[in-house]
């Protein structure tokens, strides 16, 4: 059970959050101009890394804000949390 440092609220129990999958996947600005394969790449393909991974999280039962997290999926160490729109920290 993680202890997550919400960038707006501070440390809270994992049960207040929900995970929204891989971060930094930007919705294409012109979806209609994409081929099936390009659209599928956006829609379905996720990395699911064993190791350091960038994830979206939502403080669903708190401030309801979305933010990003850098987490090592091997040991669940959270290396960083940062607000939406901010640049990911360089590893």
């Amino acid at each position: 059970m993680f202890l997550i440092n919400c960038p707006y609220c501070g440390e809270r129990d994992q049960s207040e959050f929900s995970c929204g999958g891989e971060a930094h996947i930007i919705r294409p600005k012109q979806p209609t101009e994409l081929s099936d394969d390009q659209w599928a790449e956006y829609l379905f393909m996720r990395k699911n890394i064993k190791g350091v991974q960038f994830e979206r999280w939502n403080h669903a039962h708190g401030c309801r804000k979305w933010f990003n997290m850098v987490r090592d999926t091997k040991n669940d160490k959270i290396h960083a949390v940062y607000k939406m729109g901010e640049k990911p920290p360089v590893e």
């Binding site: 059970m1 129990d13 209609t32 599928a40 829609l43 804000k65 979305w66 040991n75 669940d76």
Partner: protein, 1000 residues
Amino acid sequence: MTKYRVNKTKHVDQTKTISFDFDGKSYHGFEGDTLASALLANGVHLVGRSFKYHRPRGIMSSGSEEPNAICQVNEDTDLTEPNVRATEIELYEGLKASSQNCWPSVKFDIGGINNFISPFIPAGFYYKTFMWPKSFWKKIYEPLIRWSAGLGKSPTKPDPELYDHKHVHCDVLIIGGGISGIIASKISAKNNLKTILIEDKNILGGSTIFQKNENYKINNKYSSEWLNEEIAELKKLDNLTIKTRTSLAAYHSYNYLLAKENISDHLPLEKRNGDIRQRLWKIRADKVIVATGAIERPLVFNNNDRPGIMLSNSVKKYLDFYGVSCGFNNVIFTNNDSAYETAVSFKEKGISVEIIDIRKKSNSKIVKNAEKLGVKIYWNSTIVNTLGHRKINSIEIMNLSEDGSNVVGDKKRIKCDCLAISGGWTPMVHMHTQSGGKLDFREIDQTFIPNEIDENHINVGSCNGDFELEDIIKNTNNKVKNFLKVSESEFDNTSVLNSKELDKRNIWLLPNFISEGKCKSFIDFQNDSTAKDIKLALREGFKSIEHVKRYTTTGMATDQGKLSNMHALGIIADTAGVKMGTLGTTTFRPPFTPLTFGSIVGRSVGKFFDTIRRTSIHEWHSQNNAKFENVGQWKRPWYYPINDEGLHDAVQRESKAARDSAGILDASTLGKIDIQGTDASEFLNRVYTNAWSKLGIGKCRYGLMLNEDGMVYDDGVTTRLGENHYLMTTTTGGAANVLSKLEDYLQTEWPELDVYLTSVTDHYSTASICGPNSKKILKKIFPDKDFSDDAFPHMSYQNGKIDEINCRIMRISFTGELSYEINIESKYGKSLWEKCIEAGKEFKITPYGTETMHLLRAEKGFIIVGQDTDGTMTPIDLQMDWIVSKKKYDFIGKRSLYRSDTIREDRKQLVGLLTDDPNEVLEEGAQIVSDINKKPIEMIGHVTSSYFSPNLNKSIALAVVKSGKKMNGQKLIVPMENKNINVIVSDSVFLDKENKRINA
């Protein structure tokens, strides 16, 4: 006093007698006893039958690692509790327990026949034998396995006990109240750290608390004496919470731990008073110190499972802690020094004991001590057989060859009534590995010890591989000081004297003159797997420890292999000729010992199981005989039976009334989202499939929302309240998800949009009035308002007032009838409703529930998201092309609507179905086929909604069918269990295709 109670100790109060029943027979024990110690005091060793062979089994240990003495507590079948370890049941007045896993009785067990056919029950027996024929499963194999396995009986009634949860935070959590846990607690608490110490036993002190041996002294006192003084001081510390009878269940990441506290299980039944039985502690600790100790290993030799064969340190605990001698002719079988402490304890009390030691010699102080007391020691020897049916009565020993791989010389028989075995010690690394920690293998004593890298968690004492008293004290002190960043402690100058083990010898599987195949050398006592099973698994090609474990079921019982895992690994390593450290260990998973369901759910039972949401009008519904159905967390009126009307009759009456005159529905549960901001229109354009920019203020529009994959996600009517202000409605069940999805897009994809979302579902109550007379009723409620179609057309909204209270009136329809919805602040919901009922009286206004609502909309072919759709339906599949904007450049899901898969013409599509027999109502979920003769029969779709329509006087259904769009008029079949129903594909709109009724 029974004859086995040979010793008075301070832990058992022999002035307080407690009577209890075991297997229907009455016994006496004392306050302080466990069920196991009380049984042993009465000479009872045989407590159960083994799982597979039904061999007689006795109490083996004194703690949570017990594999055999698994009991059923409480005879009342309503409330009985299975799988409780007798070694952990504190004796209380009125305790009734029985052996598990044997029938008809522990002494005569029918399943025991398995013991004689055991050559035919090898490893993987269940996998191999019960594979075929398949038809045997239901009637023969499964009942047979269930009957003969029978790991206890479940209670038949809901648990009446009260359970609790408690959340706590602390600076330091110490797990285990043995000597190292006590040292750690003292250092922590004395340095102003908020400390919690948990211990699963009822008293602190671990195995040191009954250690009274000249060879183990601390500051020149017996180690138990020294520890007692430490504990007395510890209890005075302010910032230390000591929780006994509290066992750690799980150690999760970020130092989040679960511990179960037993509050009333040890009390006499009449003193329990319905108070809390168990409390689950949810602890978030800054730092964790694990001091869970070590478990003694058994030895693996032929027939090592008879009642009377016990772990050596447990035999010592029964003697020195409980005052019970497990036998009068004791033999100790060991490979290490610790068993000599047991021998010395026996001898000092004048009880006969001999030792079989597989080592060639040992010159430590404790061994000398035993020799001096006259204990006979057979060096370099092993046991090749044990005898005695219900209890051990003798053993046969032989000498070991030089390299220990074989036995030599003559067999010698020794009489005994208790055999104490010790194969060394295994650190309890469960907690460390549960937290994600890794292990290192230590060759010298063949142990896995924690490899520590986490800066917020350490292991101390014997769970960290320190087995000598001096190491335990010195290393615990140093480690804890470092960990807590403390420069000095009171333990810095503690002087320790202890006998040190100098000679070691380990043989995982002891050799025998009998061939391996004929030996019964048990590894996992609870699951009955033997060394032979492990070797067979290896011969059959299993290599991974995880596979061997599952194939042989070793370590898969309720004790999770606490006694068996190391031997299984050792035998695999020896047989395969590889180093044990390279095999890795199996994963220990929480809980460490089984938890009750009660402690897991805590107070979340009965009415607290889930949140119940009721509308402001709920009370009226109840008073008017409504039957409710759960829609998400909401209680919605389902139908309103009059007198003894059933569902069908009530729904037929309600449906007819709604179309013939007037009906009223509580629509308050529909999700409502208030949308404001200068980009609100643009936002709706992006989230709905249709266009919103041109919707006039005061107008309503139906919208369909997709997922990015093009599948229908939600629907509802949205009303434009002002230039930059909308009120969106969602389905009842989808409200929370829709809001969070919209928030997601706003915050992450389109942060540039000026839009604010507020959930107002609970803020407004909604009465929906429909039917040809609805306009007249509205006119009575709002006499000043012009309800003409010109002034107040379909799909528009106006503000209104009832007794000076503002409300919103929407002219929208989910039934196809002329229909109005009135929204009012929830606190006025019930009075609004009563006003509508009053005004509608002259038109026989009929309240209707969700079932009638579903029927009415089905007549009109309106979908229900989640009933007629299942996350695989596009708007095109639903034949709702009309709502998908061709002009809009983009909206959520648009691109997916022309992926190669979504444009397939043979997708399942929504159609209407009419049965040949108009009285035949299809079952929702029924499969649809076109050709019943072609085998295998192809299922081409299923029924999603089905009703008998009183307004059309025939059965109607909605269904999704492959290529359904092209099938209008085609005959299909709905095969049921005893008949095939003929149907014909129709339009999905059954009533009023011309939309006349909406303006009636």
